[in-house]
């Protein structure tokens, strides 16, 4: 089932990529979109709060006034508040489903997963309470239904539904309390979110500006076309007639009517328990974590800056006076290798027989990578000679190998130190193609992003300026994009092929390089 869901998400994300680039693709940035919606909710909510009068007779009129008299400001903000809340719930549920579909709930991710679960309860508690403030018939329905549901739990000595028996049972204090809860829970939510992203570095706090603008304009237009309005005022002596119910937030009420409070509570508890148990039910063999080598670490902090999971801290170097050393927290480390790609010691130009870098991955050490590259270059025949660096999670590169093309698959493209690209070009390759998951689709969040920035010289460690850009090709291709990648490679080969021998290529070419090591030829 999870595989089907994963395929479904992958295909939808790829379909969305054609309209939005990965960077602006809402499906690839659901968490950030959720945070943005939350800020819209908070901002519009604060305005509503300033005009709200919590008197029992004023609460309805003060809100209704906004929609009728002040539709151009208060009314729109009220609608934005409502629709952003609905969108938030939609986005939150999609985010949960997506993380589940991609299996991102086990291992080092258990923390992000577990801290997400209480947020769902907080979101619904605040959302339901919000509808009560209007004190129209929908509010009356929800308040009665919620308290009747709550009374199934043995928490109150007196049924809380007694508060909504007759019009006289409600007091001004009630609305002060509700507003307090409706404002208090989001504060808890924000604290909870802070914890939720605590183990993640370079958090995607906000979506791209284009996505934010698009989302805002959409909500604004919706608010103009279909403003959020109150129902008739509440009257506890009368059951509300037909209700225009918000199914995102209030769906539990009809569901309770259809079943029973016992069924609802047990389902809620059971699904929460299941979500909590999920990380532990799944047998997960943790990936080997990054290993630091003190002698090759100079404390430059590049690995710390690039680690997507905040697994690295800097401490005093045990042997080099005045230097720092990187320290990996094995509980936080995802085993992605992005740090090895960031370390300046990972350069293959070093003359050591065995390349030892500052921070390395036992499952794909930098030394093995150099050996693999050297072996592949030695075996290439014909022209143009191409090296393809791919990613285990993206489009498979194995099938691209041919006599003049070698394919090396990496655990994450982010493990590739840019110096390897230069090294390949100076030790026999005519062109290097680097590929990995599409933007926003990296298994380890930031691999594609850092790789692009390193190879386009926007981030340390950079590809050196002398390396001609036209001998390098970046292709972002997901596991489903095999054909696109193959086509891109063919085009690249043709381009490199025609370039070889032209005057420009000759002057542009890098100095060949021969590593000064005893060769066992």
């Amino acid at each position: 089932m999870r595989n089907t869901a994963q395929t479904l998400f992958q295909r939808s994300e790829e379909a969305f990529d054609t309209a939005f680039d990965g960077q602006h693709n809402p499906l690839r940035h659901l968490g950030a979109l959720g945070l943005y919606l939350l800020w819209l909710i908070v901002a519009s909510g604060l305005y509503l709060y300033t005009v709200l009068d919590t008197g029992i007779n004023q609460v309805y009129t003060s809100i209704n006034h906004l929609s009728v008299e002040q539709w151009y400001l208060g009314g729109i903000l009220r609608s934005v508040h409502r629709y952003a809340s609905d969108a938030f719930i939609l986005v939150m549920m999609l985010h949960l489903l997506r993380e589940w579909a991609y299996g991102r709930y086990t291992g080092f991710r258990f923390y992000s997963w577990l801290t997400g679960i209480p947020l769902i309860w907080l979101v619904f508690a605040s959302g339901i309470g919000g509808y009560w403030i209007v004190w129209d018939q929908l509010a009356q329905f929800s308040a009665t239904a919620t308290t009747e549901l709550l009374d199934w739990l043995p928490i109150f000595s007196e049924p809380s539904a007694r508060n909504f028996l007759t019009p006289e049972s409600i007091s001004d204090r009630f609305f002060t309390l509700i507003v307090f809860i409706h404002l208090g829970i989001p504060i808890l939510l924000i604290l909870g979110l802070w914890a939720h992203v605590h183990r993640i570095a370079s958090v995607d706090y906000l979506p791209s500006r284009r996505l934010m603008t698009g989302t805002f304009i959409t909500l604004l237009l919706l608010s103009l076309i279909k403003p959020a309005l109150s129902d008739a005022p509440a009257n506890l002596a009368q059951l509300p007639a037909e209700l225009r119910i918000d199914w995102f937030i209030l769906f539990l009420h009809p569901l309770t009517d259809l079943t029973s409070p016992a069924v609802i509570w047990w389902s809620l508890f059971a699904s929460t328990a299941l979500l909590c148990a999920l990380p532990f039910l799944h047998k997960h063999t943790p990936a080997p974590v990054a290993v630091v080598d003190g002698a090759n670490c100079n404390g430059c902090r590049r690995c710390l800056a690039d680690c997507p999971y905040a697994a690295i801290t800097m401490e005093v170097h045990p042997t080099r006076h005045g230097f720092k050393i990187a320290v990996v927290d094995p509980d936080l480390c995802a085993g992605c290798g992005i740090c090895a790609g960031a370390c300046p010691s990972s350069t293959p130009f070093r003359s050591q027989e065995t390349l030892v870098t500052g921070i390395d991955m036992p499952q794909q050490p930098v030394n093995a990578l150099r050996q693999q590259l050297e072996g592949a270059l030695a075996a290439l025949q014909g022209t143009p000679r191409i090296i393809v660096f791919g990613c285990d999670h993206g489009a498979s590169v194995a099938s691209l190998a041919s006599p003049n093309t070698a394919a090396i698959s990496l655990m994450c493209t982010g493990i590739l130190p840019p110096s390897f690209v230069e090294y390949a070009l100076r030790t026999g390759a005519d062109g290097v193609l680097v590929t990995g998951c599409r933007s926003g689709g990296c298994e380890f969040r930031l691999g594609d992003h850092w790789t692009t920035e390193r190879l386009t010289r926007q981030r340390e460690p950079q590809l050196r300026g002398t390396v001609p850009a036209d001998q390098i090709e970046l292709v972002w291709a997901s596991a489903n994009d095999g054909a696109t990648l193959a086509a891109a490679l063919t085009e690249f080969k043709t381009r490199i092929g025609t370039q070889i021998g032209t005057q420009m290529a000759l002057t542009n070419r890098l100095q060949p390089y021969q590593r000064r090591t005893p060769h066992h030829a």
Partner: protein, 165 residues
């Protein structure tokens, strides 16, 4: 620059998103009960009686002088017995137990009954001391329920016991 196809794609997707949110924010409408039905809410919260026992003169004799209360009253409250009849037929019968670890809290019940709107004969009997036979509190009345009307059966000793509103 955005390609025209991408712009159209975005407009369609944002539009679908807005339509989805806009639709399910209010639709489909929900009706809790049919048109010709009314609701009776039975909600009672009351402290049962305490079953006190008269101390015998011998017992009182044995007690310190300042503690010689003639009645021995336990903390526990009595259960409350309640019966509701609608149109001469039993609708609901219950025995409510006092809340609290020491059974010294209120006994409560909350129940909703849906019934056809119109004229009905309603009769409620309640006893807050099960040690005594019979029902000291009785309320009977002919009621007329309009569609969707909510009628409440409540109890308040200060308002003369059981009452409908």
């Amino acid at each position: 620059m955005l390609k025209p196809a991408a712009i159209i794609g975005q407009v369609v997707l944002y539009g679908a998103f807005a339509a989805f949110i806009g639709y399910f924010a209010t639709s489909p409408t929900y009706k809790q009960i049919p048109d010709d039905v009314s609701l009776i809410k039975l909600s009672i919260s009351h402290l049962g009686e305490r079953n006190c026992r008269k101390r015998t003169p011998e017992e009182l004799e044995k007690m310190p002088r300042n503690m010689r209360a003639p009645l021995d009253c336990p903390r526990e409250r009595s259960d409350i017995k309640l019966e509701v009849d609608l149109d001469g037929k039993p609708l609901y019968q219950t025995v409510m137990h006092p809340t609290g670890v020491y059974k010294d809290g209120v006994s409560t019940t909350y129940k909703r009954f849906e019934l056809k709107s119109g004229v009905h004969q309603l009769s409620v009997r309640m006893s807050d001391n099960v040690a005594v036979a019979g029902f000291p509190f009785v309320k009977e009345a002919q009621i007329t329920l309009k569609p969707a009307q909510v009628m409440v059966i409540d109890f308040n000793p200060d308002k003369g016991g059981l009452f409908f509103r």
